[in-house]
């Protein structure tokens, strides 16, 4: 009898939901990230030559170019330059006193307005870029204002091009036909040098310098440096200085015993011995040189061993064309990050170690400024963090350094700004590398749920006794509750609900695993705070770690590495590793008679009975020849369904096909440009539903999801004779039977087996045109599945996440006719082939969420609410009530009015009582 009521309620609730103005920026949280900044593409630069304030520009490893305000660490602008992981090098250059920054990634060169990040011009190089430089010369030929850019394209047809700084047009290009590998391009104030690597017969590398005329691009000279057998690979070339007063090339041998320096344009090579300070071998040599043509030609060489590091400063004598060692900076244990800054012609080197920031002038070794660092303000308090690289900006007053700002990238993955040694802000750039995330299940909430379940599954009497016992136990916490009552009352009354109890389960913490081998726990209610962070795997630079995190009950996190057999367990609240030998952790799930495990390997799906020999496959799904599997989505293990049927408008029931073993498989055929979708029963391997779409643009993402008894996928169809190119969203729903009140062949059978007897569902599908391609699909999850669902779609092109109400993509929407009265009662509207993404569906409202790869959802303790966490590049989280907050008092509820009414009634009662009493007595005694 309650069901029609519920259905009616749901109908009322099923209207377009939106993010409310008072909830925006309040419920949701967002980390606008860049990714790990690269040392070579990060610098301070004034966006406007007239202004004194500078911004930090960085092109990160994720291919995101951004400007960060050094004052507070906020993002001024950013641009996503590359989708996905780009393997090639990327470059970012800014000319002195220029209001543009030039980026190079892949084979694209772009110039961006430094102030607001607008694209000025874009140029596509003939091959992938090897180097991009700004030509800093004053020959009177360049366009006034913007300085020209030099690019070096590699590949088969290596080429140096000079691009106009204002338009990006090619002024000249010089083909390097020698067949040598292009390495870098460098410019002095009079010449342009292309550095090539020439492979000798013995496998060694010789450095070849081709000098070009900057105006015409004609070759003026070519010579080879006598590097002999020292250079085995390009890795030991430390640096090719660019744009400094005298560009240099520096390299070492692979054992780091000697340092060789050549001033480009001369053939002489200066050689310096690298002294061994102790038994630890030098592991890294880095060179830091100023980047301006009018700066002093001084540079610093940074030597690192496993436990300590030191640096030496060299001066280039321009007249004699020699390199001399000037002084050395002392050896310090631990790691330090050096950075170069210039002020007019003077060059300053800033050293950031774990404990202090010190600045020296390049001319002499006297320390101009020294500030102690109390802490970096990082999250992992106990963890030892080392500065990896830094960029600095010094302000000079007279002869001393009055202030220094350093943006330091730490080994913990945080980007910190130190202002005179004190940390001003931290950016958690490590979160941009998130590869897997999971909501934790808090232990105490889990305990209560468990107890309630126990009550639900026992006889009424037992349940009653259990409940009474539980309540008596709860009484123990009564004194504390009473003590905290005034406080919580005040909080609730004033609306500052900042209490730490999480009665609604909105503050589930989120565990993220990053590709750098780190685990982070984000506090769900207070997203700016990280509860703990921990390096769990050593990942060599340049490699990425592949692992998944999985939340187990009782606040335990399991980490499943893709190539490791071990699955370590962690405490979700503290981050401590739990030894799996202490058998406290066990997942209790009902054990079915037959458990099947299926895996995706070698381009096919194979299933075995769990515990059986892997060779004995139960079934195997091999795609058609030429097809490859794009994605596999299985129904979530915990996917509660409130009702086994759909109540129709005439109160009949359409039974859902509920099979926990469903999986949706998407395959693509590159040659014929088709995509196929299969819904599989993963126990028997039977194909329940399949469809093939021809003429599909496979370069666009194909997203798919599966929940309850329905699935959805999207793809991009190529233009054909009858239809233009368009993005399509297909929604399908599986039913036991299409006639109402019919539960299929099995009818009321208690058990169902996929292996015996076939129960083929009836599938309804409907296709919709959508305005843009969907990168990822996900579904909201609630505690009991009563709340209507929303399909979450990540829109990469508009940097947004939309929540599409399930009713909109219902396959049962009547086609070609208006809905009947009964269908209207159900909330079905007439089918319209185009779905526009309603602006109200956008979960990110004013925010721009960039580069989202995945969206995870988790139920809150309240049925109405689903928690959402999106990651990839940005990290975005919010909570969503697809059917509104039907089980909690909203913010607009006027508590004051309610209390005032109660109080007023109390007062009135108090005042009126004697009056009424007197009147009643008088009525008995007076006869008027």
């Amino acid at each position: 009898m309650m069901l029609p009521l519920l259905a009616a309620a749901c109908l009322l609730l099923r209207s377009a939901s939106a993010v409310f103005a008072d909830e925006a920026f309040n419920l949701d949280y967002h980390h606008a990230l860049l990714g790990k900044p690269q040392e070579s593409t990060t610098f301070f630069h004034r966006p406007n030559p007239a202004s004194r304030a500078s911004l930090i520009y960085s092109l990160s490893e994720k291919g995101v170019l951004g400007a960060v305000n050094p004052r507070d660490g906020s993002l001024v602008w950013r641009q996503l330059l590359s989708e996905g992981e780009s393997s090639g090098a990327s470059f970012l250059r800014a000319g002195e006193d220029q209001d543009a920054v030039v980026s190079g990634i892949g084979n694209r060169v772009d110039s961006w307005a430094a102030g607001d990040g607008r694209l000025a011009w874009s140029h596509v190089a003939p091959a992938s870029l090897q180097d991009v430089e700004i030509l800093e010369l004053s020959d009177g030929k360049e366009t006034p204002g913007a300085k020209d850019a030099l690019i070096l394209a590699g590949g088969e047809h290596a080429e140096v091009q000079r691009l106009d700084g204002a338009t990006g047009a090619v002024k000249w290009s010089h083909k390097l036909e020698s067949g040598d590998e292009p390495y870098q391009v460098s410019a002095s104030s009079t010449e342009v040098f292309a550095i090539l690597l020439h492979k000798t017969m013995l496998g060694y590398i010789k450095i070849k310098v081709v000098s070009l005329d900057p105006v015409t691009g004609k070759k003026t000279d070519e010579y080879t440096l006598a590097s002999d057998s020292e250079l085995a690979s390009a890795d030991t070339i430390i640096s090719v200085g660019a744009n400094s007063a005298s560009p240099i090339i520096a390299w070492t041998d692979s054992a780091y015993t000697t340092l060789k320096v050549n001033i480009i344009g001369t053939k002489a090579v200066s050689s310096f011995n690298i002294e061994k300070h102790n038994e630890h071998a030098v592991q890294r040599v880095a060179l830091h040189a100023p980047y301006h043509t009018n700066s002093l030609a001084h540079f610093l060489v940074h030597f690192e061993t496993a436990v300590s590091d030191w640096a030496e400063v060299y001066h280039v004598n321009l007249k004699k064309s020699t390199v001399e060692k000037a002084y050395s900076l002392p050896k310090v244990s631990g790691h330090s990050a050096f950075s170069t800054s210039t002020n007019d012609a003077n060059v300053y080197f800033t050293r950031v170690t774990n404990g202090q920031v010190s600045t020296v002038s390049s001319a002499s070794h006297g320390v101009l400024g020294r500030w102690a660092i109390s802490n970096f303000g990082t999250v992992g308090k106990s963890e030892e963090t080392a500065p990896l690289h830094a960029v600095s900006e010094v302000s000079i007053k007279g002869d001393s350094v009055s202030a220094v700002r350093s943006a330091v990238y730490l080994s913990s993955g945080e980007w910190v700004l130190l202002r005179d040694g004190s940390a001003t802000w931290q950016r958690l750039e490590v979160l941009a590398d998130t590869i897997s995330a999971a909501f934790t299940i808090p232990a105490e909430a889990e305990a209560l749920v468990h107890e309630l379940e126990e009550e639900a599954h026992s006889t009424p009497i037992h349940a009653y006794i259990h409940r009474v016992k539980r309540h008596i136990n709860d009484l123990k916490s009564l004194p504390e509750i009473v003590r905290n009552l005034p406080q919580s009352f005040m909080r609730g009354f004033l609306g500052t609900s900042d209490d730490h109890s999480d009665a609604f389960g909105f503050k589930k913490s989120i565990i993220c695993a990053t590709s750098s081998g780190r685990l982070l726990a984000l506090e769900g209610g207070n997203p700016n705070s990280i509860i703990w962070t921990k390096q769990v795997a050593d990942v060599p630079a340049g490699q990425s770690w592949a692992a998944r995190v999985e939340a187990l009950p009782n606040g335990v996190i399991r980490l499943i590495e893709d190539n490791g057999s071990e699955t370590p367990l962690f405490n979700a609240t503290t981050g401590e590793k739990i030894s799996s030998s202490s058998q406290e952790v066990h997942v209790d799930s009902p054990v079915p008679l037959v458990a099947v495990e299926y895996t995706l390997q070698n381009g096919e799906l194979a299933a075995t009975a769990s515990g059986q020999n892997k060779a004995d496959t139960l079934w195997r799904f091999v795609p058609q020849p030429g097809e490859k599997i794009l994605g596999l989505v299985s129904r979530p293990v915990n996917d509660p369904v409130a009702s086994i049927g759909k109540v129709l408008g005439d109160r009949n029931v359409l039974y859902k096909y509920l099979n926990p073993n469903l999986a949706l498989l998407v395959t693509a055929h590159e040659a014929v440009k088709s995509a196929s979708v299969y819904v599989l029963d993963t126990v028997s391997g039977a194909v329940i539903y399949s469809n093939t779409h021809k003429n599909v643009d496979l370069s666009e993402p194909i997203a798919s999801t599966l929940s309850e008894n329905w699935f959805a996928y999207s793809f991009t169809a190529e233009a054909s004779d009858s239809s233009p190119k368009g993005h399509q969203l297909v929604s399908g729903e599986l039913f036991e039977s299409l006639s109402s009140n019919d539960r299929g062949i099995l009818d009321a059978a208690v058990n169902v087996s996929s292996l015996s007897g076939s129960t083929e569902p009836h599938t309804l599908t409907q296709t919709y045109q959508i305005p843009e391609s969907i990168a990822k699909l996900s579904v909201t999850q609630t505690r009991q599945g009563i709340t209507s669902r929303q399909l979450l779609a990540v829109l990469a092109d508009s940097s947004a996440i939309v929540g599409i109400p399930r009713g909109v993509i219902d396959p049962r929407r009547p086609v070609g006719r208006d809905p009947t009265k009964n269908e209207q009662m159900e909330g079905l509207v007439r089918y319209a082939p185009v779905i526009e993404f309603d602006p109200k569906w956008h979960l990110n409202h004013a925010r721009e969420v960039l580069g989202i790869k995945n969206v995870v959802t988790s139920p809150a303790l309240l049925e109405s609410t689903s928690l959402i966490f999106a990651y990839g590049l940005d990290v975005f989280g919010t909570r969503l009530s697809p059917s509104f907050n039907f089980d909690m008092i909203g913010k607009d509820f006027n508590k004051f009015q309610m209390l005032a009414t109660v109080a007023a009634l109390a007062v009135v009662t108090f005042v009126v009582t004697p009056l009424v009493k007197r009147k009643q007595v008088n009525a008995r005694w007076q006869f008027a």
């Binding site: 069901l3 299985s634 073993n661 087996s753 292996l755």
Partner: protein, 186 residues
Amino acid sequence: MAAPPPPPQWVLDLNSTPPSKSRSGAFADPPGFTSATAVQQSKGAKGAKATTARAKPSQEEMDTLKLKKAWEVALAPAKQLPMNAIGMYMSGNSLQMFSIMMVFMLFKAPIQALMNINQTFVRFETESKKQELLMVKIAFVGCNLLALALGTWKVNQMGLLPTTRSDWLAWEVPREPLERAYFVPS
């Protein structure tokens, strides 16, 4: 032995209340008005004029009259039915305060009437017309049942009766799968 003193005047007044005379004892009755006492007096005085007065109905007549009256009472609910039906139709099938109240009243009245059926007809009870009165009662019950049926129809219209499959859906259990499959990333 002295005689008891005579009771005071107020005791006498109290014990012998004055006859409830017409309020306007001082005034003459209006012309044409004959008080009851006057009628009796005149009856006794002038027997010829008795024909003008109504004859007291006989027991038979009285019983018939009572039965008629009883029929009227019995059929009263039926007369209300059309009005009720229109009211129910008008109030719509949505679950609202107004329609719920109306339905409640619709149910309350017949049930109350049926419970009080004996009190209702006790004043029409006669020795001779016992059989007929039974018929009247049956008719009364029938009419009330009709009203109840109207209420039931209305409740069904409102979707409050568990007559369809969806009402029992909550008691249908999902089938337990005998097998479970788990995805193991390779």
